[in-house]
Symmetry: C2
Subunit: 341 residues, 2 copies
């Protein structure tokens, strides 16, 4: 029986604040390459790190009743190549997407794989614009945000994997778009490369009042707020909403470093919802998994035609995975953050 | 030219916290009874006091761009009798509804009047179950709350003009209903007279944690939260929402005593919207004014058949109006609060 060396990041300890390598253990073991019926052996090429992973580590119930189990491989999506197949339809060399988590190799039932067409777009887009982040951006914007031409759309976390797509999708709807991001480099990129009408660096702002004043001066008022961040950005935007504004809660990454268990305090602002008869709606990508084809039908041609910027920040080295996850909340990456094996 | 003595409550000073007679002046003057074409002279019989009046006194923009103007008669709805008419279709003795505010008499153009049929229901219902509060309860529940049979509905301010109707309307939808109110008497009334499945007195609770634990023990989780109050009640309910819960922001009366200008702090809870893909929607009665007939078509037969409890708390004396308004936020009234001339 042939064996190969498999490395895995095992999730060992629940983080209280930030996540780090201390919460994981890197293990190495031998994996048999013998395949059962319908089994496929894959070698992971790219690993996705996503903010939702930190939510899943909360000690309180979140979108799942149970937290990510300890002492198991960190769950997550990968792009991989087939090394060997005992399933019809898969052959060595094929590119596939799997949810096999932070391990270098895996033997999986073919039903857990999704074929990637490398002719359509770079294979990494299966983890980005043509994958979960793209689905989140597309359906969050179209189903919950519902922007119209001429409306004002504000996006927090605008330089991130989801935010950077929302900015571009909203522009294609004919809306005017303001992105909020951290640092002048991201803001310049939002304006110059993604086509945002305005970009605001939140970092020089000590509080929501001055941030809000800057947003108000530029937009006059907000029709759609696509929120990936929460906290100060949201405090700044809510008092600026227009009549029947739609607020999409896609993420609250400013709150993930412990705030999910013990919420931090912020101003009570729900009376603005009343004044403006506005809507706040939470959304998760998983609810639109069965509608992936709708998104791909529209977005894939834009990707193929080079009309969508789908920036990727790639970190090299399987051993970098925990640090890469933490850098989602602290780092300077633009677009989709990936780890290359 | 005949004259009559007209008394008016003039709104003189913006309140910072609670509203009181200090913010008004009671004036008396002579009103000519000579009627122009299409004019009607009315004598107010019942005055409505409503929480929205306090919002209109906020120094910041609310649902209206401008605050209620100073040095004018306090605006508000009344039920009145026609004393004399120079408009076809109106005759002395007719019951009408008008938006003539806190004054004993008024000369109005007939287009500002709405006829009340005293055969249909007591005339005061035009300010309650068949008026603005009824419209708020009906459309807030059916358009924003959208309860289904078997779902759990929680109503804050459940003994108030709107809340007491929402409790009953939700029961008629086949939902199970928990009312939150202040004091054991209101809670007993909610259970024994209105048919709520459960009622919780929020007053013994020092904070949202214990209130939330009691709600969770009774309901297991919340599908629709109809919120008239905000603050602690909302902090207690949001962590208990079920998948795709709908939160209706109809009022935030716990925040009206100054909190609208300088919001108080509360826990950040928007991540729960994400987890449960839930919706918060603000609503105002005015948006459904043109759909009044839809509500009346359904609710008036229930009123006529005696199937709806539409409790009224009536305070006697025009001079009591400012105190009555304040007592909305501090008092022990049940159902609709009215002042009788």
């Amino acid at each position: 029986m042939t064996m190969l060396t498999q490395r895995q990041w095992i999730y060992r300890q629940q983080p209280v604040g930030q996540i780090s390598a201390d919460h994981y253990e890197l293990v190495e073991q031998q994996l048999s390459t013998a395949l059962g019926e319908q089994e496929v052996l894959i070698e992971s090429a790219y690993f996705s790190v996503d903010p939702y992973m930190r939510i899943g580590q909360s000690s309180k119930p979140t979108y799942d009743t149970e937290a990510h189990p300890l002492n198991t491989v960190q769950q997550g999506a990968v792009v991989a190549r087939v090394l060997a197949s005992n399933a019809p339809g898969y052959a060595a060399g094929d590119w596939v997407q799997a949810y096999s988590g932070w391990q270098t190799h895996a033997r999986l039932h073919a039903s857990g794989l999704k074929r990637i067409d490398p002719e359509l777009a770079p294979v990494t887009t299966a983890l980005g614009v043509l994958g979960m982040p793209g689905r989140t951006a597309w359906f969050g914007l179209t189903e919950s945000g519902r922007p119209h031409a001429g409306e004002m759309v504000v996006v927090s976390g605008a330089a991130g994997a989801v935010g950077s797509l929302v900015v571009q999708f909203a522009k294609r709807h004919g809306a005017r778009v303001l992105g909020i991001a951290g640092g002048p480099a991201k803001c310049a990129w939002l304006r110059d490369t993604l086509g945002a009408d305005w970009a605001i660096d939140y970092k020089p702002h000590a509080g929501a009042d001055t941030l809000g004043a800057e947003i108000k001066a530029l937009t006059g008022g907000v029709d759609v707020y696509f929120d990936n961040v929460g906290g100060m950005a949201t405090d700044a935007v809510i008092p600026l909403i227009n009549r029947r504004a739609r607020i999409v809660i896609c993420g609250q990454i400013s709150q993930y470093g412990g705030g999910l268990e013990t919420p931090e305090l912020g101003p009570r602002l729900l009376h603005h919802m009343l004044y403006q008869r506005a809507t706040i709606q939470g959304m998760l990508a998983r609810d639109y998994l069965h509608r992936m084809d709708e998104m791909v039908r529209i977005v894939a041609p834009w990707v193929k035609a080079g009309e969508i910027v789908f920036e990727e920040t790639v970190i090299d080295g399987f051993e970098q995975l925990p640090a890469a996850l933490n850098s989602l909340f602290t780092g300077d990456h633009r677009g989709k953050l990936l780890v290359r094996a």
